[in-house]
Amino acid sequence: MNLNARIILAVRNFFRKYGRVILIVAVIWLIIFLFNQYLKNRPREKSLINTYTPDEPIMDEGDTVPKRAVSTVNETIEKYFNYCNQKEYENAFNMLTDQCKEYLYANDVNKFKEYVDKIFPNNKIYNIQNYSNVDDIYIYNIRILDDITATGTTENYDVYQEKIVLHGDNSEFKISNQGYIGNQKINKEIENDDMKIKMIKKEMSYTKEEYTLEIRNKTDNYMMICDEMGGNQITLNLGNQIRPVLNVTNGNIIIVPDETKKVTLIFDKYYDDGVSPIGINFNNVRLLKRIASSLTDVSDQSEDNIVRTFSINIGLQ
C-alpha cells in the first residue's frame, strides 16, 4: 500500500474511532463560544457605586434585616413618616405599639399630637439607618430634616433624630418611637426581716432600662435606700459591669415605718448589648431613728441616728 493510501486509511480509522468524542467536544465548544458572544453583546446594566446601605446594621454586622422584610420595613417607616408629616395624627398614632402608646403618651393622641407638632413644624424629609436587630425587633435611626432639595439649605436646616423600632413579623410591623422598645413583667420577690421587695416590671428603651419595684419597710425605723448623693448606692449588676442608678441624684428614697412605696429606678443599658442583667443591688440601706422634717431635706446620718446598715441583692435571672 502506498503512503497516501496509508495516511488516508489512518485518518479514516482515527475519525471512525474518535469521531463521536470530537463531535461532542466541538458542540460543547460551540455552545461556550455562542454564550460568550451573547454575554459580550448584551446591553450591560448600569449600576452606580452606592455606599448608602440603610438596611445594614452599623452596630452589629451579623444580624441584618431579613431580605424578605426589608421592603415592608421601609414601607412602614415611610407610611408612618408621611402620616406625621401630613398631620394625620390618628393614623400615625395607630401605627404605634400599645405599650408605646401607653408609656410615652398615656394612650392620649393629643400628647402624641404635641410631639408630632414639635418635630414637624413644616414639611420634612427623612433618611434612615439600621442600627441593630435583636430577634424580631429592628432598630433604626431616623433623621428628620427640612426639605433641603426645596430650600437648597438657604436658611440652613434643622435635623432631628431619634431611634424608631419596628416590631412584628415580616408581613406587618408596628412602631415604637423616641427610642422606646417595650416592657417586660418581672415576677420576683425578695424578703428579709427588714423589708420586702417586689419587682413589677421593666420598661426598655434603646439606651436605658427603667425598673418599677414595690418596697415595704417592715421595721419600726425609717428606711433610707438612697440619699441625695445617688450614685453607687443602688446599682445594676451586668456581670462584668456595674451601673449606678441615674434618677435619684438630688433626691432620695426613704420609706417610713410599715409603708409600701412604689419606686422607679433608671439605669444606662443598651438594648442590643447582648447582656442580661443579673440583679439590682441596694448597697447601703440605712435604718434611721429619725429623718429630716421634709423628705427632701438632708437627713442626719450620724452614728447616733443610724440603727443599722445592710445591703441586699435582688436577683433578676
Partner: protein
C-alpha cells in the same frame, strides 16, 4: 490504559479551548471599558446633527458616571451645571433645578438668569466639603473667578439629588 490516555488528552484539549475563549472574552471586555472622551467641538449648525451630538454627549456622561464614586459623580453634576451657566446656556442649567426649589426661588428663567449674573464669567469651583443625608448630597463650594484672584469668592452649599446615572436635580443656597 491507552483509552485513559486518550481521554486525558481530550480533556486537556477541551480545557485549552475553554481557556482560550475566556481569554478572548476578557480581552474584548477590556477594550470596551476604555475611557470615553467627550467631544466638545460643534462641527456644523445642522439641528439634527446638534441633537445627535447632545444625545451622544449625554450618553458619554452617563457611561462615565457608572465608573465614578459618589463624590466624583456629585462634583461632575455640579460641574455640568456651572459649565452651562458659564456658556450662557441658562435654560439648560435652569432645567437641572429641583421643581420645588424653582417655585420657591426662581419662578421664571429670567429670574434665574438675573441671579447667576453674580457668578464670574470664568468660573473655578473649589470643593470644600461633602456631606450626605441619605441619598441626598450637600456640597460646600467656593466659586471663584478663574483669572481674577481679587474678585469676590462666593461660598455656597449645593444640594444634589441623584435619581439615576446622569439623572439628577440641583438646588443651592440662595445668597
Amino acid at each position: 490504559m491507552k483509552k485513559n490516555v486518550v481521554n486525558i488528552l481530550l480533556l486537556i484539549v477541551v480545557l485549552i479551548l475553554i481557556a482560550i475563549n475566556i481569554i478572548i472574552y476578557i480581552n474584548n471586555h477590556k477594550e470596551d471599558e476604555e475611557e470615553i472622551r467627550v467631544n466638545n467641538t460643534i462641527t456644523e449648525n445642522n439641528l439634527s446633527e446638534n441633537i445627535n451630538y447632545e444625545e451622544e454627549e449625554q450618553k458619554a456622561i452617563t457611561e462615565k458616571t457608572t465608573t465614578m464614586n459618589e463624590r466624583s459623580r456629585m462634583q461632575t453634576y455640579f460641574g455640568i451645571f456651572i459649565t452651562y451657566i458659564e456658556e450662557g446656556n441658562y435654560e439648560a442649567a435652569y432645567n437641572l433645578l429641583n421643581e420645588n426649589f424653582k417655585q420657591s426661588y426662581f419662578k421664571t428663567l429670567e429670574e434665574f438668569e438675573q441671579y447667576v449674573q453674580k457668578y464670574p464669567e470664568n468660573i473655578v469651583v473649589d470643593y470644600q466639603d461633602i456631606n450626605r443625608e441619605g441619598e441626598i448630597f450637600i456640597l460646600t463650594v467656593e466659586i471663584k473667578d478663574l483669572y481674577d484672584s481679587q474678585a469676590e469668592t462666593i461660598k455656597q452649599r449645593v444640594v444634589v439629588k441623584e435619581n439615576d446615572a446622569n439623572d439628577y436635580e440641583i438646588s443651592f443656597q440662595v445668597n
